[in-house]
């Protein structure tokens, strides 16, 4: 626990504050993507060609990297949201909130390391791989 003089701010630092900050940032980011994503999907009502052209940008290496970021943001938001619910509704939630924070960090890493590799595999092959 950070021991700072409690003057000028209510936020004392520590894991709880940073998960709160990250929860807001990832929430806003995912929300803006959701707007874009409904708009791009709406192109299926325009024409198959229009939809396929826009979806092709999702398959480029740079956007693939952004997709890894999106999945990472959603996964953090989901895990931390479950932690918040546990703190609110589970009688022992507040006592174990810090352990749960490190728990979700571990789960996030275990999913994201192979996940990122798998999502970028096609881009890596397209850029560096040799096709027989």
């Amino acid at each position: 626990m950070a021991t700072t003089t409690p003057v000028g701010t209510l936020y004392r630092g520590g894991e709880g504050m940073w998960t709160w900050v990250l929860h807001r940032i990832t929430g806003v980011g995912v929300f803006f993507f959701l707007f874009v994503h409904v708009l791009d999907t709406a192109l299926v009502r325009v024409s198959p060609e229009a939809y396929d052209i826009v979806i092709a940008t999702y398959k480029t290496p740079i956007v693939a990297l952004l997709e890894v970021g999106l999945v990472g943001a959603v996964l953090f938001h989901a895990l931390n949201g479950l932690r918040v619910i546990a703190v609110d509704f589970w009688s022992k939630g507040p006592r174990f909130q810090r352990q749960m924070t490190w728990g979700i960090a571990a789960v996030w890493l275990v999913v994201m390391v192979p996940g990122a590799y798998y999502m970028l595999m096609h881009s890596i092959e397209a850029m560096f791989g040799s096709t027989p």
Binding site: L34, T41, A42
Partner: protein, 135 residues
């Protein structure tokens, strides 16, 4: 080290102001919709980004194949509505926290509500009126 003095959170002049349980229901909605969205959104991301070559296999025909099934239509419709309402309510909280002027707060929320309503209606229309034989 003395504790900082914290002012009473509700000023006396507003004590008789009308109260409603809206914020309680909004708080509860975030948790209930959040639990449902964990399954819907993580399932969606897993199918779209990891299964069978991920995003590389997505095109018009792929969408047509999925929305031929009522199961995925209901999945996507539920996900659309819950995610948009969850996200809009989150943005409302953030605007209330950071926009200090009454006018700024009011107009930011108006822009938020109008654009959210547009996206929800557009998405709903697309799912219900999708035509696999288009083009």
């Amino acid at each position: 080290m003395s504790a900082p003095s914290i002012e009473t959170p509700r000023s006396l002049s507003r004590r008789n102001a009308q109260r409603s349980n809206f914020e309680l229901y909004s708080w509860l909605f975030m948790r209930v919709s959040g639990i449902v969205l964990v399954f819907l959104v993580l399932g969606h991301l897993f199918i779209m980004n990891f299964l069978d070559g991920g995003v590389q296999r997505i095109n018009f025909a792929f969408v047509a194949g999925r929305w031929a099934s009522p199961f995925w239509q209901v999945w996507d419709l539920t996900m659309l509505w819950l995610a948009m309402l969850h996200g809009t309510n989150g943005m409302r909280t953030i605007i209330n926290d950071y926009a200090e002027r009454d006018q700024t707060r009011f107009w930011l929320k108006m822009v938020l509500y109008v654009s959210s309503a547009f996206i929800i209606l557009l998405g709903t229309l697309v799912i219900f009126t999708f035509d696999p034989n288009l083009g």
